[in-house]
């Protein structure tokens, strides 16, 4: 069982964009206002290039560990994979906090206790304990689910938007640059692909097709951002959970209730898997580095999930501070690992094995 090219394209075009529809739109609107499409487009273009590099590496059909070991030796490979797994655990933190806030705000009328979110870590541990290549099969289904959810929300909300609010473009000046800097934490898709190297069906042409599909998904994100800002305009900054907010002005809501939540729940399901993906990547990197003896996958997945749960518990009411550290002081970590590393990895030699 390997991740087929179709499954990979489903992930890049449908699944990966879903993670950018929750907090990111409000965050972009906060910095770039009506120019929120520009920083998003810059990020997406950079990620498309990084995805291209990562998939070029995957075309070789070898694991990251094998390629690193062939070039730098086993010890260096172990060190790199350990560091990379730490990055993935760090990268997992923001989606987890985002998911927690999303769950607490959208799925409940009143603020529930953190224990209601805790079962997610069981889910993440379960997923991470399974072979990462099993993900391909889920993407087959999640791709369709995400497309339905996304299309449903857009259909219900596109009519309510005033697209003139996006003009004039480029007026935010430094806000665009600020938008790019503050939202790095949402763009590390290429880094998620690196642990998959060796598990993806290795065929020529995967890289450029993958990048193309990523751009298709990016276009969908940009369309969503346009609709989002067209509806909320200056108040967009306050609409923290964009996918749940965008379609709430649908005229049928007063008659039928929040029917749009059907689509929100579909995307919510996709986001569940997406939030667990960095944890899976982290476990996979460690397994590549240290072997898969006996129950190590299970121990690692449970251990990493437990650590993340503890961190989320600690940071429960400090989301603002965490955000300012991740997207402020430590923002450089994301471009380093999600853009530079995939590009540098192209220099790796093929292993003789």
């Amino acid at each position: 069982m390997t991740v087929s090219r179709r499954q990979l394209y489903f992930f890049l075009a449908c699944v990966a964009p879903a993670g950018k529809l929750i907090l990111l739109p409000a965050r972009l609107a906060e910095s770039a206002k009506n120019d929120l499409l520009l920083p998003a487009a810059i990020h997406l273009a950079l990620q498309a290039a990084a995805v291209f590099c990562a998939l070029l590496l995957c075309e070789r059909g070898e694991t990251l560990h094998d390629m690193l070991a062939a070039t730098f030796g086993r010890v260096a490979a172990k060190i790199f994979l350990t560091v990379f797994s730490v990055f993935l655990a760090y990268a997992a933190f923001l989606p987890l906090l985002e998911e927690k806030l999303f769950v607490q705000s959208v799925y409940y009328d009143t603020l529930p206790s953190i224990t209601s979110f805790a079962p997610f870590f069981l889910f993440a541990a379960y997923l991470a304990a399974k072979p990462i290549r099993a993900l391909g099969r889920v993407w087959d289904i999640l791709g369709i689910v995400a497309a339905i959810g996304y299309a449903g929300i857009l259909i219900l909300s596109a009519g309510s938007a005033d697209y003139a609010a996006l003009a004039p473009a480029g007026g935010s000046g430094m806000g665009i640059l600020l938008g790019v800097l503050r939202t790095w934490g949402w763009f590390f898709d290429a880094a998620l692909l690196l642990p998959l190297a060796g598990h993806i069906e290795a065929k020529k042409g995967t890289a450029w097709r993958g990048a193309l599909f990523y751009l298709v998904g990016s276009a969908a994100v940009l369309l969503f951002l346009a609709v989002f800002y067209g509806i909320f305009q200056e108040t967009a900054t306050n609409q923290l959970f964009a996918i749940a907010a965008t379609s709430k002005y649908f005229s049928g809501v007063s008659m039928l209730g929040r029917v749009d939540y059907a689509f929100v729940f579909l995307l919510g399901l996709v986001v569940l898997f997406l939030s667990a993906l960095p944890v899976q990547g982290c476990v996979e990197c460690l397994l590549q580095a240290y072997g898969r003896e006996h129950h190590l996958p299970a121990f690692l997945s449970v251990g990493i999930s437990a650590v993340l749960l503890a961190l989320v518990l600690v940071c429960d009411f400090r989301f603002g501070d965490v955000m300012s550290v991740i997207s402020g002081t430590l923002f450089w970590i994301f471009p380093l690992f999600s853009v530079l590393v995939p590009a540098l990895c192209l220099a790796l030699r093929r292993s003789h094995a």
């Binding site: 209601s116 099993a134 099969r137 729940f265």
Partner: protein, 508 residues
Amino acid sequence: MTVFSAPAPRAGAVFPFGVPHKFRPPPHTPCMKTVTGNLEKDVSALKKLLPAEDIPTFSFLSGGGLPFTAVYADAVTDKELLGEQVIEPLLGYGNDPDPAHVARRISSPEARLKRSLPELAEEVLEGNPVLLWEGGKEGLAVGTKQVFSRAVAEPSTDVVIKGPREGFVEDVKINSSLVRRRFKTGELRIDTVTVGRRSKTVVCVCYLEGTSVQSTVDGIKEKLGRIDIDYVPDSSYLTHFLAERPHSLVKQIGTTEKPDIFCAKIAEGRVGLLVDGSPIALTAPYLLIEDFQSSEDYFVPAYRATFTRLLRLFALLVAIYFPAFYISAQLFKLQLFPVKLLLTIAGSIRDIPFSPSIEMLLVLLVLEVLNEASIRMPKYVGMALSVVGALVLGETAVSAGFVSTPAIIIIAFSGIGLYAVPNLIEVTSVLRLAMLLVAGSVGTFGILLLSGFCLFYLVTCENFGVPLVAPFSPLVGRDLRDSLVKFNLRSLPLRPRTLKSPNRRRLK
């Protein structure tokens, strides 16, 4: 437990379901014994192996004065046939003790000469009387087994308006004849395997040579060969041994009671199993989508079949999720209800003493009890049960203020929806309960999480190398033509790619 293959009947004797004794050690026999030719000693030795009171002997002399003794199992031997085909012809026989001559004299098409007494004992136990005679160095087992079986009738679990109405019965011979009648080709292989140390249950492995995947056939035979159980009362016992995840909540082996479905599945490249004593045939590899398909879908226009399949899926989703979402909306997210409906619900639950989840669980429990009781209850009491269930428990419980009307409506709808896909009822009823529990404790997020768990679990399930959720995951575009949607028969020229049949084309 032995596995063997019987592709074609031997010349001169037709016994396709005969058990391959020569491969099998006899039960409870410390040492092998053979027929000596001394009638008294041989009968005594055979009776030692078969001391049961219902295994009598019958002695007679041939026309030439040669003493014969027939040993038979009283309850399972057709004595009339024994008289007609064996004893009567031998009354006119001379006194030549040569086994070949004796075997030629009798008029049964199933006659086997055997030297080993334990093997002859097994024949007796299977209902085939054994003939011993003075000077004979072999015993003669004659196939005059008495078969008690109900008539072939439409199975109550799979009723159709259009299409064949035959259903399997408990006798494996009749069942395999129903299969053989539908495939008039030598490619149909019916291999026999016996399972069960004491029951020696005959299992027929049916497949089309060149169409089914040989590794699947071998895998099934190997798994059957490894079963070491004393008694196999029904085919469902075998599913535990054939499944790759025996403790799985989801079934992994297909089941059907209808020969037309069974044969259609074999024609697609699957392998079928007929188990003696069970009217439920098994098929492998199993795809989850199979249970959303009915045989009738193939006898009605494609658009109608598509509609009914989608309806089944909708009914199933409603059955599983509707009670759970109602509870989670009521407890955690009232926004999900439109205002007017919310007011109606608020009015109906105002005086209910229980929390919504407890209330729903109670109603669900009552439904499950009623369901269980109605299946086991004698038919005469059924009407009374309906009255008690509908009026006393339903109407009175609402008017007494124990449960609310929406709860009863939702559970009733869910209960009906579950039966839209009857083959999955064991799984879906448990899933509905699990969804209800997480909805009551964690809310909508719990429902999504559990759905995520189930989704990931399902996509990782495989049996005989075929993914359970195919053709959706992995997505096989062409196979989607006969999945939840159904294309016209002309648009289905190929067998499902998922099943990896070596012979892909079925329509030219």
